[in-house]
């Protein structure tokens, strides 16, 4: 893998990310009453993470990392744990533990 290409990719990704993070502080006072920004601020976060979650779920099916059962069981445990305790780390770790265990047993 070409080192220059990797460094350029990291640099571009970092520059864009930093720019996006700094943008609202730079133009904060002018954004205050934009109705479009208000609506997007309300709607986009949910939409983005739903897209990312579906993508993550679809990806694991594609790469075939183990059988379907460990993944489905892991997702089920993650969801139930999260509905129960609402603790991000606990939900992620227990779901992953179940997935790893079932994949090892299969």
């Amino acid at each position: 893998m070409d080192t220059g290409y990797l460094l350029l990719a990291v640099g571009v990704a970092a520059l864009i990310t930093a720019g996006l993070r700094a943008l609202p502080f730079a133009i904060r006072h002018r954004l205050g009453d934009s109705e479009l920004m208000d609506d997007l601020a309300r709607w986009m976060p949910l939409g983005i993470v739903v897209v990312l979650a579906v993508h993550a779920l679809a990806n694991i099916g594609h790469t075939g990392a183990g059988e379907a059962l460990p993944t489905v069981a892991g997702v089920a445990v993650t969801v139930v744990m999260h509905l129960w305790r609402r603790n991000l780390l606990l939900s992620v770790f227990s779901g992953t533990a179940v997935c790893v265990l079932l994949a090892a047993l299969a």
């Binding site: 986009m44 993550a56 991000l88």
Partner: protein
Amino acid sequence: MRANRPIIVGMSETLSARPDVSASLPGIPTPRFGGPRRDAQVAAPGRTHPQPHQRRVPAFGADLAALARQIGAVWAGFLAVGAGYGVLVSSAGLPWWFAPVSALVVFAGSAEFLLIGLLAAAAPIGAIALTTLLVNSRHVLYGLSFPLHRIRSRAGRLYSVYTLCDEAYALAGGPGSPALSGRRLVLLQAGLHLSAGVGALLGSVAGSSLLGGVAGLDFVMVALFVVIAMDAWSANRDRVVLAVSLGAVAVAWVLAPGQLVLVALVLLAAALVSRHHVQRIRRRPGSPAAVCGPEPTTGARAQT
């Protein structure tokens, strides 16, 4: 404006539920919704009592210890997710230094994970730039309510903005989050930043031998995204957004399965912008939606 909810609600809720969060900040009420008022309450004592040796300015070590009690678990979580990232990087055939360098320089979880796939497929820089732009566009919203003004030094503010990731926002800037001093804000973010970098280094160097053989470990990120989506849904039960997102993924799946996230997010953004315009037209008295050409059609589809 209505404050945008943190994506990782569960994390901040866990924090607020802990007694030591408020106990370590005597005299500061637990913040509620409505950022500016809360910020003023927190920032005011600092401005009116600038003496450096007052008891209200704790020593560096005390600040660090208090923070570790509050969010040490999240730092540990970043170490683990960083290690998972490192393992993925090395299993994708990228050099060992790439994981820590990208984790420290980019420091945006979901974009980093997408970056691995793009680089492994030797995607053009333009595609990487566009994906980063769309995936991280949500960061634009964080600055609108993040209490950056609590940080006094210019270097501290620059660092805080540079490392303003989802979790930092959820922990410090979102509604219901604990009121941290400026120094604790910077320490919180530095802890997240360093944990991610060290974790990525460990995962990349040692991970493939330690964890590479364990099947199912890549499930960590699936679980993380599922949990984040659940938290976002409980923070904002907007069925239209949910339906539009799922529809966008379905269309992207058919149109461009190789660029699923990118295409889905473009469709999502377009649909939500049309939804905004449709709602504005409907709200305006005396102007029926039918007058406005093709837009209502798009919006009507988005509304279902």
